[in-house]
Chain length 411, copies 2
Amino acid sequence: MSTANGVRALVRRTHEERVLSALRAHGALSRSELARLVGLSRTTLSEITAHLLSRGAIVVADTDADVRAGSGRPAERLALDPGAGQVIGVDFGHRRVHIAVADASHDVIASGREEYANGAPWSARVSTAFDLIDRLSRETGVHYGALQAIGIGVPGPYTGKTGESSSVGWKTELAPDGVHDAFEERFETPVFVDNNTRLAALAEASNRSDIVDNLVYLRLSDGVGGGLVVNGRLVSGSRGFAGELGHVTATASGVACRCGKRGCLETVASVPAILAACRDRGVAIDTLDELGAAVAKGDPDVDGVLRDVGSAIGRVLGAAAMTLNPREVVIGGEIIRIAPVIVEQAAATIRYELYPIPAEQPLVVRPAQLYDNDGALGAIAAIFHQSPLLAGYPEPAAPASQHQSQRSAQS
Amino acid sequence: MSTANGVRALVRRTHEERVLSALRAHGALSRSELARLVGLSRTTLSEITAHLLSRGAIVVADTDADVRAGSGRPAERLALDPGAGQVIGVDFGHRRVHIAVADASHDVIASGREEYANGAPWSARVSTAFDLIDRLSRETGVHYGALQAIGIGVPGPYTGKTGESSSVGWKTELAPDGVHDAFEERFETPVFVDNNTRLAALAEASNRSDIVDNLVYLRLSDGVGGGLVVNGRLVSGSRGFAGELGHVTATASGVACRCGKRGCLETVASVPAILAACRDRGVAIDTLDELGAAVAKGDPDVDGVLRDVGSAIGRVLGAAAMTLNPREVVIGGEIIRIAPVIVEQAAATIRYELYPIPAEQPLVVRPAQLYDNDGALGAIAAIFHQSPLLAGYPEPAAPASQHQSQRSAQS
């Protein structure tokens, strides 16, 4: 029923699809990495890549000179045509928006940050973001004609489908559906929205070519939030509330939380709570800078507060780690750089909580590596690694020309 | 490059693949369910199913008379040819093995249970299972010539790749790699192994045609174990230890646990711990039957113990639910049927712990629906819904003939 030609075309198409998917997910790869990932023989892979190179769907990105230094001829690395598609990551915070632009090789080719008033309305935040995206284009020469997708991080729960309309703790920050639509309308490209702390978790789990399969992320800030990567994918939960580690009970008889419960981790481990606990011990500290000075001085009362905070974090993260058996537990937020003892103490408590799990497979507990741009980078990682926006692309070789014609229609 | 014939063949093949995948994952489906799942028009779907029916790759399984009673002509349901493949689910417990056999329509066509000595060596457990599989064949006439895959549940952590060789709490029960290999060698079919409590979680999350996306499962027995379904998939964690809710700390200053920590949930909520707590309050109870009698009598001391147990469970599951935002929390084990107040009290505590999450999206907290065969059913669900064993099938239309030729070669 299917002709021999048809079968050959089908087979080649399937192989091409696998090569393009691998490059889309992992960025630039050497031929041997590609062969391993797609499971094709060297000979078949050569035919496929030669064909894709001749069509301009992929390019020789660079030579892998770092890795192969001194080994004679360096290995070529192949990548999707970087001009064939950019993605934009946007992270809306309480006081600022961060934007990063990456090309199809996963290289960040532009990024920036712009502030707005604390708790500015969403219309103002969105227009600030549009202006920043335009400015980045002017300053760096990046045009968005080949834009493939936009990922957006917002504070508060977000299911990725529709904004939740009411919630005790998060009411003021919930992003309206209009944010998604405004970007979609302006850029005529697929858009997805997720919680920004969750995206930061994915950014911490991502490196150039891979994702840590299982990771628990906690961020200490004005509030305490978190995010989970399970089986290599972000976890939203059934209604978009997964990862709210700040509202896990840390001390049953604790103080009232803004969420309506008592003793939530946030009442102990948010930055304002930590500063207040220092003052309760008679140490006059109002800012993170002052906290840093007290830490540098070795103030024993401050050290005691920070160790208590670390223990409370460790109890909550220890339970999460016993539940999820992650490879890494990551603690982020500016205060972690100022007071690293929090992570040390949390790690010690988590180690105890995980005592039953064999010690030859130690969990990594570490401070976050990324800074304030983690949400924007996480949005980009989400697009490359797990968004249906790109995975569902009907014809993998086509985006370049498709978007180019779109660009010419716009100009 | 590809002829028009080739493109048509490719498109039809793609559509067929989607229809077969849907039937493989969901069992028998009506045409309208199929159309919705695969996203094809009625006309295209009719062509595809007519073609698959004419080739014998799918069959009319039954008419959906239950659902459509009284609505005139009942809807036909389509399914993969049931003779085209069976799967076997095996659940090795401490004292017995459960086996269930399902056909390609997901119907359980044979099942049974056989006991062995408590903690029998794995060689004895495996040969007991082989004998039971043979007996089921003799008694029900099921032959395994069209066997597609075997799923096996074992106590203790299991990564699905290699047995962990040492562990404080689980040492005596860890299944050796030999279990996997023995089944593979005997049946010459793909085999996968996972923790049996985890498989029970998947069984609770599964119904005939779907999987609850996010579910937390806890089982109270001689020990306390658990399992997680996240994003519709079982969670193993980075090293196969995910779901060990029994060793989350429930009371920081609690009694020593066999795992080496203190105050683990298992020290409070295992069946032996619950019976001991009753005795500590002066109620002489040694068995579940005696506990049932005391519950029926309304003994206030026993009620107090059970409510304390429920609260401890609720604290641990509440933290897990705040972390994962599941749709359902399920508590299983024989004791739950005898003392349902445990689930009631746990549900109340979990509701408090989840207070910040909007109440219009209530979490379901419920007792397990399945009985002791949940592990075997979960192994079957894992094969149909998420094992790479079937998903990786190279030619979806082929299994019938392929396996028939294998069968005739054996007979």
